[in-house]
């Protein structure tokens, strides 16, 4: 549904997107993850036709976004990060205007406005001037306009930024619901959001894709090192030093009585750790493996990228 090939975008001399390629299959919800200024918005703006790439090509719903921009745009619902709204219009007239621009006829517009207002819980605000709505409701109007023409592809740029937690939960629920029948590319820099809503994740950093896989695969791939958390009573520095000497242990960090031990994948030094601690005459309070969270993966990938340069 979305195909990106060797996409590159320069803003003047600044490189924003650096030769990226990826695919999003029909019906997938893909998280587009990266820190601020990683190139997420630029990529999305190219897909939606708002910007032209410097090099490379992209297809949405089978249409090339360069040569068949209008057809491609017809099949996209776009939620832009800035939530662009005409603040002097009512919710109804705004939705009507955008639905009309996307080629819906008057009869269909009427039923679709009812539908999206219902989906986005805007019933009471449909005749209110947008300028008078709070941030959370504006966000919903932004989502409503993106889905009003029932597009095959949804491109959502940070749809949950700056709204309260209840509305965030609601928006995520909404996205999951939409994803059943549509292809969604969702950008965010909030990590839990991706693991909650997406099946697959593309991590982008400084304009490059640093990882692309399902969330489970990513965590096992990154777990080139496993981590063990333990709690020990005793002299911290000395314990840490002894732990570092154990075979297979890469790194040990600690705070008070809590220690984190990193070891190579496939190794299980728990027995040796226990032995070491008992030999030293200290008290072991707990010991367990910890799964890497998406946050750790993200940090690991993006910091590795930096040191690699």
């Amino acid at each position: 549904m979305i195909r990106v090939e060797n996409l590159t975008k320069y803003y003047g001399k600044r490189l924003a997107v650096d030769n990226i390629s990826f695919n999003v299959e029909k019906g997938e919800i893909v998280g587009f993850l990266g820190p601020n200024a990683a190139g997420k918005t630029t990529t999305m703006r190219i897909l939606t036709g708002f910007l032209m790439p410097t090099r490379g090509e992209a297809w949405v719903a089978g249409y090339n976004v360069l040569s068949h921009s209008l057809e491609a745009r017809q099949h996209i619902g776009y939620f832009a990060e800035a939530v662009p709204l005409y603040t002097d219009m009512t919710v109804r007239s705004y939705l009507d205007f955008l639905a009309r621009l996307r080629g819906l006829d008057t009869k269909r517009i009427k039923t679709r406005i009812e539908d999206v207002v219902d989906i986005c819980h805007l019933e009471e605000y449909v005749d209110v001037i947008i300028g008078k709505l709070s941030k959370g409701f504006r966000q919903r109007v932004g989502v409503a306009q993106a889905i009003i023409h029932e597009p095959e592809v949804l491109i959502l740029d940070e749809p949950t930024i700056g709204i309260d937690p209840i509305q965030v939960a609601m928006t995520r629920q909404l996205i999951k619901g939409l994803g059943k029948e549509r292809t969604i590319l969702l950008s965010t820099h909030i990590l839990p959001e991706v693991s909650m809503t997406c099946e697959r994740v593309i991590i982008i950093h400084e304009g490059k894709i640093v990882a692309e896989d399902s969330i489970e695969n990513l965590s096992s791939m990154i777990s080139g090192s496993r981590r063990i958390r333990l709690e020990v009573e005793g002299p911290s520095e000395k314990i840490a030093e002894r732990l570092r000497q154990i075979e297979g242990v890469h790194r040990v960090s600690y705070q008070d009585t809590n220690y984190t031990v990193e070891c190579s994948a496939g190794q299980d030094p728990r027995g040796k750790i226990m032995e070491t601690i008992v030999q030293g005459g200290w008290t072991l309070l707990s010991l367990e493996f910890i799964e890497m969270s998406l946050e750790d993966i993200f940090l690991k990938l993006t910091t590795e990228e930096e040191t690699g340069q």
């Binding site: 036709g49 708002f50 032209m52 209008l70 745009r73 800035a82 662009p84 002097d88 621009l101």
Partner: protein, 236 residues
């Protein structure tokens, strides 16, 4: 075409929803009203010439003010992203905005119809020059709006847009006057390109085809430039 009309109607409505159109119309009516009264009292003729000759300069500047928000505001508010990602051609966006603002300008001109109506009730004015004067004003309005839209497409600051439009309009308006200090052949050539050159003919009742072609060409040229400027923003 459908998209153009959708955008034109939206623009027209949003003018009516903001104080801008009312303020501009108010200023236009007040100034032209004064000019009309002044000319009616001093000229020994029942015509609207006095209002048209100076009023056209007022119209020109107010058109720049009307047009200044059309794209600059969209750029500033970020709503340009909505328009440029909708399945709509850039030319439809520009044409829609042009027609929407032309609607307001036309309404403004229609409101001044009471000047000739007053003349008719107190005298026997020659309707020919009045008709051609309005045609001239309308065409001049088209050209000014096109220039205003072009200026508005360049920036996200409405004031900058108005100043740029005002600059272009002033340069084109006074070009003929300035050129008159140059040798005759040169000045004649330059005055062909001046906005003010064709106004007197229209006020005298002449339907000057050169004038019509000139104003329409200026309109088309600047609308085209505005489309290009919009396209260009995708390549930034």
């Amino acid at each position: 075409m459908r998209n153009t009309i959708t955008i034109a109607l939206k623009e027209f409505k949003s003018y009516l929803a903001s104080p801008m159109a009312y303020v501009v119309t108010g200023i236009f009516l007040a100034l032209t009203g004064f000019l009309f009264r002044y000319s009616a009292a001093t000229y020994i003729e029942t015509s609207i010439r006095g209002f048209v000759e100076t009023g056209s300069l007022v119209l020109l500047l107010l058109a720049a003010v009307l047009a200044m928000r059309l794209l600059a505001e969209e750029r500033k508010m970020g709503t340009l992203e909505l328009l440029l990602t909708a399945p709509v051609r850039d030319s439809e966006v520009i044409l829609g905005k042009f027609l929407g603002s032309l609607g307001i300008l036309t309404a403004m001109l229609v409101l001044t119809f009471y000047y000739p109506i007053l003349l008719m009730s107190f005298g026997d004015p020659d309707m020919g020059p009045i008709g051609t004067s309005y045609l001239g004003l309308f065409l001049l309005g088209c050209a000014s709006l096109a220039i205003g839209i072009f200026a508005s497409s360049l920036t996200s600051n409405q004031i900058v847009a108005a100043v740029v439009a005002g600059g272009i309009l002033f340069a084109l308006w006074f070009m003929g006057t300035v050129a008159s200090y140059l040798p005759e052949t040169v000045s004649e050539f330059i005055s062909y390109f001046s906005l003010s050159t064709y106004v007197p003919a229209f006020t005298r009742g002449v339907v000057d085809s050169r004038g019509i072609i000139y104003y329409l060409s200026i309109t088309a040229l600047f609308l085209f430039l505005a489309v290009r400027s919009l396209e260009n923003s995708r390549w930034s």
